[in-house]
């Protein structure tokens, strides 16, 4: 399993930079976190999101699978540990963090459902962003070419990709209901990282959202 964001080709939304040169998708995630809170970034790559969060006065920790990513983070002074989302989240106690973030990593985990369940257990809130496999370009590719879709955002061939568990926004929604997650917020982004209209229906998001960002929490009781 591959957790690192850093080594692979950047997606379009990832290459779009906001003020200060930060990736817009990470900026959006960082703004969902209340200043002063405790955050665990699962699959933190080279630590860019953690840096954004620390600038907001957040006590940030990270887990990263790739040795290069970890060593880069630690050399920057970030509290990052080498580890695997599939196996190492169980070591964290309940309610250890205010937010647990899984950014562009869910599709690369072996057991996405268990990862989400751990996130909801460890954190008061879970923030999950992932590429939407229900986007119209992907649907058209499969329909017309009969081959596994490849896009600017998901350029790897099926035999090379670290992404083993793709889902659509609708699929993710269903799983959230299954694990008893409460949806606090959901945003779908177009290929340039801009949020789609807030009042659009789910089918619209599922067709036109290239990425989705969900803020979840445990249902009380």
């Amino acid at each position: 399993m591959m957790l690192s964001r850093a080594p692979r080709d950047l997606t379009m939304a990832e290459t779009v930079r906001g003020p200060g040169g930060a990736r817009v998708d990470l900026l959006m995630v960082s703004e969902m976190v209340e200043p002063g809170s405790r955050v665990l970034d699962v699959g933190c790559g080279d630590g860019e999101l953690l840096r954004l969060l620390e600038a907001r006065g957040v006590d940030g920790r990270g887990i990263e699978l790739s040795r290069e990513g970890v060593n880069e983070c630690v050399a920057k002074g970030l509290a990052v540990v080498q580890g695997d989302a599939d196996t190492d989240l169980s070591a964290y106690p309940d309610d250890a963090f205010d937010y647990v973030i899984l950014s562009q990593t869910l599709q690369a985990t072996r057991r996405p459902r268990e990862v989400i369940e751990h996130m909801l257990r460890i954190g008061r809130h879970a923030i999950v962003s992932f590429p939407n496999f229900g986007h119209w370009r992907i649907r058209l590719q499969l329909l017309f070419y009969g081959r596994m879709p490849r896009t600017a955002n998901l350029p790897e061939t099926w035999y090379d990709t670290p992404n083993i568990h793709f889902c659509t926004i609708k699929d993710f929604n269903d799983m959230c209901a299954l694990v008893g997650a409460r949806m606090e917020k959901a945003v779908a982004l177009d290929p340039w990282g801009t949020a789609l209209k807030i009042d659009a229906p789910w089918w619209f998001w599922n067709l036109f959202g290239e990425q989705a960002v969900f803020v979840l929490s445990r249902k009380p009781g």
Binding site: D59, R61, R67, V70, N71, C73, V74, A75, K76, G77, L78, A79, V80, V81, Q82, G83, D88, A91, Y92, P93, A96
Partner: protein, 395 residues
């Protein structure tokens, strides 16, 4: 050609003198301040030999304690008075180095049970006027740390900005954080574990048996008897040295090459380069290290089991800690493998600690922590810089 450990005898008086009157700074604790050991013995009088580098700032907030490994000593960043070689962690400690003596006040003391001036089995027993030998009480990692706290009190330092060490030094770092969490701002346990594994105890036992099987060991009374168990200690060192390297590193360094010859001699001479190298390691070691100290310090490592001291739950050792941790392991270290470091990290995570953990890729084995590994240097520097900012130290 055979490298035999021959010249040790003439050097031994140096070791005896170094034990009582070391060429180091010395803190002497009289009968009013005994070292209370885990074994129940109160060791008194008792002395700690130490080196310092840099300047303690007025707020006393920039002190860094370095804990040395099994065969190390307090000479972490200066020329060694016995061997004449550079400090054992020169690459890490010094002006402009990651543990920067221009910024930090660095302290390194010889552990209790050692042989470079802190009380140990080669120190003179005041009751007999002879070296303690086996009359010296058995010590533990916690006893080593206790002695270090007495030194810090003596120096008037309450809180350490950082405590760092590898291997047995890392065990002391962990013990510091578990026993005196409020006195440690940041910690770097490197290539270490919270308990000594059965395999490691087994290796240590082989080493001890090699020492004790040497007829010159004389039940530990070799100084009094005028003998030296140099062959036993040399064999112990040769065996241990293999465990500090890796198969790949040995192969890269020596392969199957012959030493100064083209063909095997059909004898038990050191035909292979690797044999010659190990014999050299053994013979130089006995010139600077006391055989009884080797017994005591290996024993202290064997006894180390932090979880057992905390109701069997490792996380309890770190619960509520505010210390910032940087745990480091090496891929080819089979003596203290990454799984040992990961266990520390899991316990720290369970305790809610702020922890960084990096595994560094190298084929140099356990000894990698002493070597010029660029990633190790970068990580230690980055971690301490960040901790320094959090501590409010000038950059």
């Amino acid at each position: 050609m055979t490298t035999t450990p021959a010249k040790a005898e003439t050097k031994l008086p140096v070791l005896v003198r170094e034990a009582d009157r070391p060429r180091s700074q010395l803190a002497v604790f009289g009968p009013d301040k005994p070292l209370r050991l885990d074994s129940g013995v109160a060791l008194s009088p008792f002395q700690v030999a130490y080196q310092t580098y840099g300047t303690l700032n007025p707020a006393k907030s920039n002190a860094v304690l370095i804990c040395h490994a099994l065969t190390g000593d307090q000479h972490v960043g200066n020329v060694h008075p016995v061997t004449g070689k550079g400090g054992w962690w020169d690459i890490m400690v010094g002006p402009g180095r990651p543990i920067d003596t221009n910024r930090y006040f660095v302290i390194c003391s010889n552990v209790v049970g050692g042989c470079m001036g802190t009380s140990g089995p080669s120190s003179t027993n005041p009751a007999t006027g002879e070296p303690y030998g086996l009359d010296f009480p058995v010590i533990t990692i916690k006893d080593m740390v206790r002695a270090q706290t007495m030194l810090l009190d003596h120096l008037g330092i309450d809180t350490l900005f950082a405590v760092a060490g590898g291997s047995m030094g890392g065990m002391q770092v962990i013990e510091w954080c578990a026993s005196y969490p409020d006195r440690v701002f940041s910690a770097l346990p490197i290539a270490t574990a919270t308990r000594h594994s059965a395999q490691n105890i087994a290796f240590h036992e082989v080493g001890r048996q090699a020492v004790m099987a040497d007829p010159e060991w004389k039940n530990g009374r070799y100084f009094v008897e005028g003998t030296s168990p140099r062959r036993g200690l040399s064999v112990a060192r040769m065996g241990a040295h293999i465990t500090y390297l890796s198969d790949t590193a040995l192969h890269r360094k020596f392969g199957r090459r012959f030493q100064d010859r083209d063909n095997p001699t059909f004898s038990f001479d050191a035909d292979f380069e690797v044999e010659s190298y190990l014999r050299h390691q053994g013979s130089t070691f006995v010139e600077r290290f006391d055989a009884n100290s080797y017994l005591y310090l290996t024993r202290a490592m064997d006894y180390f089991d932090l979880a057992a001291d905390h109701g069997g739950v490792l996380a309890n050792a770190f619960r509520g800690t505010r210390t910032r941790f940087c745990v480091i392991s090496f891929t080819s270290d089979w003596l203290f493998p990454t799984s040992d470091s990961r266990a520390i990290v899991h316990a720290l995570n369970a305790g809610g600690a702020r922890v960084s953990f990096a595994e560094i890729e190298t084929d140099k084995g356990h000894d990698a922590f002493l070597l010029d590994e660029p990633e190790l240097i970068g990580i230690v520097r980055g971690f301490l810089d960040s901790a320094g900012r959090a501590r409010g130290l000038p950059t």
